[in-house]
Amino acid sequence: MNAIIFSAIMGVVMMFSGILLQKKSAVTTTAIVSLLLLLSMNLLDSYSVFSINVNTHGLLHFNKFGLFFNSILIAATLIFAVLCGSEIEKTGVNVADYYALIFFVLCGTSILTSFNGLLMLFLGIEIMSIPLYILTGAEKRNLKSNEASLKYFLMGAFSTGLLLMGIALIYGATGSFALKVSTTMAASAGVLSTSFLQIAGLILLFVSMCFKVSAAPFHFWTPDVYDGAPSVFTSFMATVVKAAGFFAFLNLFESNSAILGPSWKILLSFVIVATLLVGNITAVFQQSIKRMLAYSSISQAGFMLFALYSNNDMAKEGILLYAVAYCLATIGFFAILIKVKDYTFDGFNGLAKTQPVMAFTGVVFLMSLAGIPLTAGFFAKYYMLASVVKSGGSLWIVVVAVLFAAVSVYYYFKVIQSMYFKEGTPEVAAISPNFKTGLLLVAAAVILVGVLPSIVLNWFYF
């Protein structure tokens, strides 16, 4: 409960900090300190040292997995704030409000990592989404940002409608919004006699969750929104928010997938293949790196969906690792991207010459995203694939995934090619040494996790 309470409080604090503090950088500092506080609170909670307990009447359920996942998300936000804080300051005048909204998003993610019923799921998603609509439109004068915001909003609201219809149908079938009850009922009733109503509800739920994690064919908002949103917030959206969505997805279908019977795997494999296909193939032709990253985030989602597919312990560990790897690499790379004026591939030409540190760390991040061994991304993908193999059967989908992973190398390495093998003078914003250090640290973390993934996982079991 610590995280939910403190993130809400910090959000309010940030709102006021905007009034109290004159300098934008002071706001950022406040935010970073607040995040640190939030992180430590959450960690204290997860080790049961200090936790505020509120009787939630079974609506929220705090377990180690969720808390740890939440810590990862908060830590990712912290890294995000440290690396991109200066850019947030440049986005608009309401810096404090942006941070406040980020904290509210974190409140939403905290709910999503601990929800124990469809009501809290719904609330969590909404608390998470509504600030995001705003953040997407943060550049008010930028038509793209406006457009992205409106698109995101309309489609998000639409998917909320689907989600609610799903919830309603499930409620009709089970008479409860709890996750557990529906399973027990299903179990006692036996899979065969599962209500069609519930199945319809679950499918709608599935669809709206697919929408949230931008799985094809419900991914359409992703490229446009990621592209249109201010890059800083894209970075945040693509990592923290998406990871939280995945956690919710996983949590939601961990027990419910059985109800759908064999069609569950068919549906899921359909979605996975479609996601990998759309994400990877479409990314190939992109001219803008930012948009390419948007598509690549779709393809990464395809990989993360394997956790649902296999639905075992390994998948849980995997999704943790994936969240870490993906957040680190994406936040890192976006931090680099933001500094470059021109988001096209040509804009990166020759970056290695002018900004060796940025280029090198960029390579590390891209390799991690591509899943090259000894980067965190490898183990992330490894766990995903391994969990599917472990669950037995359906090796074909692993092979398909692997082939698409090879396609992904194409567009990730295209960036490397631009940076290292092509001549050019990229326009880069002023880089502070701290920023470089930060990048190097993140890159080091990527490699460290890549060499010893158990670092992350041992914390989990600790």
Partner: protein, 167 residues
Amino acid sequence: MSIIQILFSFLTVLALFGAIMVLVSKNPVHSVLWLITVFFAISGHYILLNAQFLAIVNLIVYAGAIMVLFLFVIMLMNLNAESEPRKHLWMKFAGVISGGCFLMVLVSLIRQTVELTGKTVLMKEGNIGLIKNLGKALFSDYVVPFELSSVLFLSAMVGAVVIGKKD
């Protein structure tokens, strides 16, 4: 045919008709008005179901506050019938077809749902929809989501300020 059935049928037809009119009205203001009609019809349904609290909230919040907000915005923008160019015909067609398909699929699913046969909705009676009971539940079992929805409003407020404020 009992009075409830008659009322039910009337409200249903009214709601559906209103909904369709929302769709087909060229003038946005008309759409809003038709939507308010729909909301009233739905509130009528709530009353039929003895969900008094929701009926009132629906009228006050939806029909009253939200739709007025809509109206204001539409007025503010000075939108009228001609301001919205027609959509491509095929897009309309596709929209209607796919919406219809969606409906058909779900309806056919419901028709096959065996355990719903014989289940009825308790009309008029039942006190769970009363404010007293709902309030009790809201402030005991559902206090956490209730409080959390304040975060939602807070963020919506911050958002509206951020978006709406002139730089």
